[in-house]
């Protein structure tokens, strides 16, 4: 379970990114966070694994306080939280397998990871993760030689290699075309259902949010303005989240 208690984030320079957020996310949930850019979606996601440190309040993951965790505890907590990124964040010059093995770093000694002498089990986990997103045959291809959709699937495999209990996805489809976006979202959904990994996805396409999410959280200017089931959300709710009427650019559109 992930719990936010009165969480606020003020960036150096005075920008208030999150304001007094209280939130509980249950195990196995598939949560989608929507909001305009600058509404605090990325900040909310990154405060879960402490890539952004809250300036107020506390975040708990499985009962452990992330905000006050020591360096060692934080590594431990982070190793249970997978993350995928808008720009994939692969090392383009390394092959797919090496990129996925990055997800095993927390379990392997520095010497072994630097010399490339990965334990057999860790390699096995990496291969299994690639198999799960059906891209195993590209294991020895360089990251830069893959298409955007394939790179994001490698990104998912890297997160899966951590054997996480929580998966954070920060705008995972913002750099992809509509068809590929749905493919990537279906993999996330499949992983959530098959492995029971709590999944939290930032999106700004409202139709995609409705199509894949179960629970929807709306952020506006750092405040929680909507929290409920995707099935109950109305256009008026979306207009409240966005603070304006819905435009066609807020929708990813149908496949064609």
């Amino acid at each position: 379970m992930i719990k936010f208690e009165n969480v606020g984030v003020v960036y150096p320079g005075g920008v208030k990114a999150l304001d007094n957020i209280n939130l509980e996310i249950n195990e196995g949930d598939f949560v989608i966070i929507v909001g305009l850019s600058g509404a605090g979606k990325s900040t909310l996601l990154r405060s879960i694994n402490n890539l952004v440190k809250p300036t107020d309040g506390d975040v708990f993951v499985d009962g452990k306080n992330v905000t006050n965790a020591s360096k060692k505890e934080l590594k431990q907590i982070r190793s249970d939280i997978g993350m995928i990124f808008q720009t994939f964040n692969l090392v383009n010059r390394s092959n797919v397998l090496k990129n996925v093995l990055t997800g095993r770093l927390s379990q392997v000694s520095t010497i072994r990871s630097i010399t490339g002498l990965w334990p057999k089990e860790d390699k096995q986990i990496a291969f299994e993760s690639l198999e799960r997103v059906e891209i195993l045959e590209k294991a020895y291809v360089r990251g830069s030689n893959l298409s955007g959709g394939q790179q994001q699937r490698v990104g998912i495999a890297r997160a899966l290699a951590q054997k996480p209990t929580v998966m954070l996805a920060d705008e995972p489809v913002a750099s992809l075309d509509p068809v590929t976006s749905r493919v990537v979202m279906s993999y996330l959904k499949k992983i959530n259902q098959e492995l029971g990994i709590t999944t939290i996805v930032n999106l700004h396409f409202l139709d995609l949010a409705k199509e894949f999410g179960t629970r929807l959280i709306g952020l506006r200017e750092g405040n929680l303005v909507y929290d409920g089931s995707v099935d109950d959300v109305s256009d008026a709710d979306f207009e409240n989240i966005y603070g304006r009427s819905i435009k066609s650019s807020d929708l990813i559109g149908e496949d064609d």
Binding site: L74, I81, R93, T102, I114
Partner: protein, 260 residues
């Protein structure tokens, strides 16, 4: 006919800058005593230098200088390899992308700046005092020289890498060293190789000069012959050095193309 926007007039920088630059250059000529009459008068004594220079003693040079020339190359190879590999870890500490600790970043950066500020000839003089005359002093001097250049170039390259993969590794619970090694190092390896080849070329040239202060290599022979004004012996050595430099440059161009 569309209305084209008005072209802005030349800036004040151009109006004021060009005359200032011309005046300043004229002032410099005047100050350093540049005048063509001196040049012309001295040209009449040119036979002292040009005659021997254009009558190279090839057999003497090949017999007496080739061993020293090989030593020069050996000094350059050893120094650039050691210097660059010492600089590799230091560069990651001297970049804010991979070292968030402001104090240690500042210390590493300052250390590299200090090493770079001291001229290679001065390093050579210090090391000849410390370890005695000979090629070892030359190697040490050029290690510092390579270290300084590599540290500067590589740490600035690390500043501009994509921080995304580092964040990804960090978010998975990897230690700092692990993140840097798996996510930052692969991004700069091609640059590192290119810089290494460049520094190796610089070292070949610099190691010739180092002989002048007794730090080994072919420079030592040039220095002794220069004292006796034996330009007929120096000119073939210079041609030999030129050949070596060209060969190495060709090799590194070829290698760079293969690697990058």
């Amino acid at each position: 006919m569309i209305n084209l926007p008005k072209k802005p007039p030349p800036s004040l920088m151009v109006f004021a800058g060009i005359p200032t630059a011309v005046l300043f250059s004229y002032y410099c000529f005047f100050k350093v005593g540049f005048n063509l009459t001196d040049f012309k008068e001295n040209l009449e004594n040119r036979y002292l230098v040009t005659d021997p220079l254009f009558n190279p003693k090839w057999s003497w040079a090949i017999e007496n200088a080739s061993e020293a020339l090989v030593e020069t190359i050996q000094i350059a190879i050893l120094a650039s390899v050691v210097g660059c590999f010492v600089a590799l870890p230091l560069s990651f500490y001297a970049s804010q992308t991979t070292n968030q600790n402001k104090i240690s970043y500042f210390l590493y950066k300052s250390f590299l700046n200090l090493v770079r500020t001291i001229p290679d000839l001065f390093w050579a003089m210090m090391f000849t005092v410390a370890v005695g005359l000979g090629p070892f002093a030359g190697v040490l001097a050029l290690v510092m020289f390579s270290l300084a250049i590599m540290g500067k170039l590589l740490s600035e390259t690390i500043d501009s890498i994509d921080p995304g993969p580092l964040e990804a590794a960090k978010s998975s619970g990897a230690s700092h060293n692990q993140s840097v090694f798996t996510s930052a190092l692969p991004q700069v390896l091609p640059n590192f190789t290119a810089y290494f080849l460049y520094i190796f070329e610089l070292c070949i040239r610099a190691s010739v000069i180092l002989g002048l202060v007794g730090a080994g290599g072919v420079g030592r022979i040039i220095e002794t012959q220069r004292i006796f004004l034996r330009f007929d012996r120096i000119s073939p050595i210079i041609v030999l050095i030129l050949l070596v430099v060209i060969l190495i440059e060709q090799f590194s161009v070829w290698l760079r193309r293969r690697i990058l």
